[in-house]
Subunit: 192 residues, 2 copies
């Protein structure tokens, strides 16, 4: 997605060879016009997948998620992150490890919002090791629903998440794939 | 806002005379078409205010915030909530007490995203005691910017937040004002 690539080049800050900061348009300040285009692009890519639910995770997944849901004309659900939790029988719970924060969170979704037979499109802002996406996919499968696809705004293709999700059989569409963050510079993977 | 009132009547769950649960369209599952209408309505109400930034707070403020920012064609910033924080000189920090959770969070915004002279529209999903809205307003004022207005999706008008914010001089626009939650029933305030 050319518009997004340009935004990464113009405003992305390479903090290390692992960390790309995009807080001016994706995960603190957000560019609503760009988010709308992101929603359109995911809708185009997953047009044949009969999606009837979008599932994302707080907080930075919500803006691209709601814009995708708007284009698809389906409801969006965002999973909540919590440090620890009293178990309840009306919610799905999965553990998700964050390599960035080096902590495990529990992510939760109310059972009533994902039903057997649903075709759920998972949306998230970043894909690195794939922990969050796998956690969301496990929730969809706990519900007896189907993962219709996984849409990622920025994939760090030098980390294993994308490969692992594809090996697990999921269709992954990343709008921008970053191949490397060496010498303070963003290099994109070929396919963009 | 009639559409929203109807949604509250159809899907809102009165858990007690203090708590209205709207997790099917506002703060867990979200209705993107309704969120778009919410953004349009805030834009109509604050049309004369020369807003150049929308500020909200994670997580449930993000969807109405981004839709309002899209209509206004301005950037949106969401404040982050944290339990405690190492002080840094590149962020604004305010303490916000949550009556619901009975805990104090620090909310933060990177300084670079709000500048002196900015006219900031604060958007949030709920208004009860006004703690979050006051915290966001203090951040705007720390930045030397102006609060152009405060837009609330659902105000619990039987709690003091709306009155306190108006007494402090802010323009508050609530799309729906709930007057009472007695006997498991939602009663709206007259002005809707």
């Amino acid at each position: 997605m050319q518009l997004l690539k340009q935004k990464v080049l113009d405003e992305g800050i390479v903090l290390s060879n692992q960390v790309l900061k995009v807080d001016s348009f994706l995960n603190h300040q957000m560019d609503p016009v760009l988010m709308k285009e992101v929603g359109r692009e995911f809708t185009r890519r997953f047009a044949g997948e009969a999606v009837n639910r979008v599932l994302t995770i707080e907080s930075s997944g919500i803006a691209p998620g709601i814009m995708t849901a708007l284009e698809l004309e389906v409801p969006m659900i965002f999973a909540r992150k919590q440090k620890s939790l009293t178990l309840r029988d009306d919610i799905f719970v999965e553990k998700v490890y964050s390599f960035t924060k080096q902590e495990t969170n529990e992510i939760t979704v109310a059972k009533k919002f994902i039903q057997p037979g649903d075709r759920v499109l998972i949306i998230d802002d970043f894909l690195a090791n794939g922990e969050a996406a796998f956690g969301l996919a496990r929730i969809v499968e706990q519900a007896g629903a189907t993962v219709a696809g996984i849409g990622i705004v920025i994939e760090k293709a030098f980390q294993p998440g994308g490969r692992l999700l594809k090996e697990a059989g999921y269709r992954v569409e990343s709008l921008v794939r970053v191949a490397a963050l060496d010498d303070g510079k963003v290099t994109f993977a070929d396919q963009d």
